[in-house]
Symmetry: C2
Subunit: 229 residues, 2 copies
Amino acid sequence: MPTLAFKLNDHLYLRDPQHTQLGQKIIHSSMLLIDQLGFEQFTFKKLAEEIDSTEASIYRYFENKHRLLVYLIAWYWNWMEYRMEIFTSAVADPKEKLKTCLRILAEEKKYDPTFEFVNEEALHRIVIAELDKTYLTKGVDDLNKEGLFGGFKSVCGKIASLIHVINPNYPFAESLVSTVLITANQQLFFASHLPSLTSLEANESRYNRLYSFLENVVFCSIKADNKYA
Amino acid sequence: MPTLAFKLNDHLYLRDPQHTQLGQKIIHSSMLLIDQLGFEQFTFKKLAEEIDSTEASIYRYFENKHRLLVYLIAWYWNWMEYRMEIFTSAVADPKEKLKTCLRILAEEKKYDPTFEFVNEEALHRIVIAELDKTYLTKGVDDLNKEGLFGGFKSVCGKIASLIHVINPNYPFAESLVSTVLITANQQLFFASHLPSLTSLEANESRYNRLYSFLENVVFCSIKADNKYA
DNA sequence: CGATTAATGATAGTAATACTATTATATTTG
DNA sequence: CAAATATAATAGTATTACTATCATTAATCG
């Protein structure tokens, strides 16, 4: 099977890293390094050492380390959308489609051999720990104009439109979906680090519990026959 | 009326800034400056210039700028808890208490003259834009051990216990509350910067809409008679 | 195949950041 | 008034986040 590559917004990079060996090494190793060190401690210098290259070479692919992070997380949401499409395409009932999306969102992330140079487990930990840093910056509006959050927005939009089909009168579809997309990762962070803020445990059961929580929140909220809708 | 001060966890600072003039200037001006510049662009040097003091003097109050942020946001949650207590103390019905808490969470924040050197409007914008950065760091576990997230955890715990009273069988109270506390601010951020991710508008109606959204999510989820509980 | 072009490496340099350290000078307190 | 403490003034350091230049290697193409 040939290695698949996502067509990501080309403002995310200066040179497309998916198409060269060095680029792939940058993606692969930056994921491992950001996962290990955290985004603040991660530097292009450390990455350069790791891949036996130089800072200057990395700067030819990414304008700065923040954009590299935005790239990695855009990749994640593209991957999510791709999986959601695969697993919902054969499903007709929009409620079932919605459940499938939540299941994919909540499930434990495992290595997907479709994408050779991506370690999805590390990437998921990065999303859990660093997602918010992509948009919580004074530069949001510029990044947004360039379409750099397109992946996340697309996932959000598609799930929201499922909700619109299920209950056209529910007035908070977009808010509900963005809340759920973000809380899915946040709750896993809390389970590991701030357990009093979550009802999930830190063990393996947490993915199923997370799914139950998300399903409960979503399906209760959008039920047509509740006095709050 | 005397100026009130909160008793915050004393690991938050090296010297209590509420008790000296310089300390109060640090709090007051750091709020305005972080609000203006964003946390990344904010430095102790710029703050020192602003208050006609020196970096070294500020470092005698706060170990580093991250802890100053944690301090400011801890102050915010203490203030929230204080307001929730004031406005729920006369209310008997736990459902009404819960609604009051959500109302306080969602409402537009205005200057509270009880706290002279705090600009609550600026502080709220800081919470919206920087809250997640307090705990999304490799040092979370250490900060947590020192009790630096006590304010947030306390608000979360108190609201969760209201839910436990309303419906003892609901199994996700802590997750639901932390989700709501965080999304309340996140949705306001989206309304200003990423409107496709929210069902709120960017105008003044957003606080009421936000309240409706939160009330809907919470009360639907915890209803005893739904098949998801 | 040789020549052009493009990608990478090697190296250097810079302004700013996040501190630490030292000493002098105010200011408060007992 | 003396002693202790808080603050200011100043300097210095390692690191970061870049930018710039030029040499070298690899890919491409007539």
